[in-house]
Symmetry: C2
Amino acid sequence: MTTLDTHWFTEICEEGGSAFSLRIKRKLHEEQSPYQRIEIFETEKFGNLMVIDGFVMLTGRDNFLYHEMMSHPALFTHPDPKRVVIIGGGDCGTLREVLRHDGIEHALQVEIDERVTRISEKFFPELCESNNDPRAEFYFGDGIKWMAEAAPGSVDVVIVDSTDPIGPAKGLFTEAFYRDCFNAMGGHGVLVQQSESPLYHMRILKPMHAAMRAAGFDDTASLFYPQPVYPSGWWTATLAVKGGPAGEFREQAAADKSFETVYYNAGLHRGALAMPEFFRKALED
Amino acid sequence: MTTLDTHWFTEICEEGGSAFSLRIKRKLHEEQSPYQRIEIFETEKFGNLMVIDGFVMLTGRDNFLYHEMMSHPALFTHPDPKRVVIIGGGDCGTLREVLRHDGIEHALQVEIDERVTRISEKFFPELCESNNDPRAEFYFGDGIKWMAEAAPGSVDVVIVDSTDPIGPAKGLFTEAFYRDCFNAMGGHGVLVQQSESPLYHMRILKPMHAAMRAAGFDDTASLFYPQPVYPSGWWTATLAVKGGPAGEFREQAAADKSFETVYYNAGLHRGALAMPEFFRKALED
């Protein structure tokens, strides 16, 4: 049997009975922040790798999939987004994508662990290249608390770019949190949240849709996309929309977008909304 | 660092610098056929696993993605498919999906290694449940040779369900083979071939499109879909169409299909045709 020597980083997904590994050249950094253990590796083929508490967060090679799908669909779903709040997102990759949209006036990143951002500035400088944009603001603190205290109508788009629903991120996957997001929005608002693997995590995805609707959102839709370094390699972001449908977006604006992407385009957005049969049936049940 | 003990099957993808592993309960079967080494494992969470020469072929849990995407898009792209040839496909999962279409009159599976089919009958009986369908025919022999000798106009749809382009399957990824497929078709024909990972294998995908067009096909299009057990977890099937566009299909017929699927539906088909930006640019270059 093939075995992996010590030149590999491996993440086991217990519930999937699977594991994903990247061959590494060396460990570049390791620290225990007040919140979590953060490690950075140089991989052989995936650029730099960030690991938090043993779980893969991102790599230089494939983070474009995640960051583009966590930002552009939500922003093109909102009719006129100006004020964006990112909950989590400490690596700043989502922030960079958000700021590609000319109409954005203010993008606030609410990350609980400042060390994630400082480490990203050093090891993922490309993701942090918009950190000095005058429209960007950083607040290092608790996203759940921030959202509970947000002024009504003060936010257009909320992006929940968090770790899995264990530990401190657990409260980000609740109806109470979604209601706070809903209340922070004006007449039209869009929430998007990373929502795990359709193959492994229907036990998270189905209640998430229900909780978002229970919190007041008019419509929800999951976007499906590949993410090689996450369990099963198949991932979702789930949209919840206040004041409109989740499956419609400014398609012409997306087709005419003024910035470059690696993955996202208008056709991809439309395609990512298509639900696999098993998923459609699970939501309808 | 996490290491995997002997209760895991691991496949390393050298060109990706990555590895995928499944936790196994036990090895159920192992043999050296005249062509290759075939192993069957019982996994903890992915059902049975077939491995050929060390490479994951399929699992009971996620083969629906591959088999549905290798069959239904091609069949709904052809205006009226009656005669299908599957090159490879020894596990019979593609054959089963093909025979779900009422209009199919004859489906011939041309697999070089009869042992793959016999082993599948034992360890993947669900994939072989249509093997006794009177429309099904089995020929165990060389698919390249078979196609070179096929009568002109005798085939509507060719499905190339092969291993990677190394070893005996290499000849299935050539313009000469595509030309033989083209010549075996009548005025309207559809070829579909598994075409590797968009993240890892653009060096295969791009020349494949070019070779299919050089062989005479009017249009080509890749379909993108998740495949957790293949390298990068993201896979493609590439369509080549004689006598029509590759991006259009009998959408209403797909929406009204008379059979159940786990993944495929009309919206998914449309969505799977959407090209990521990097892919579109690579093909246009």
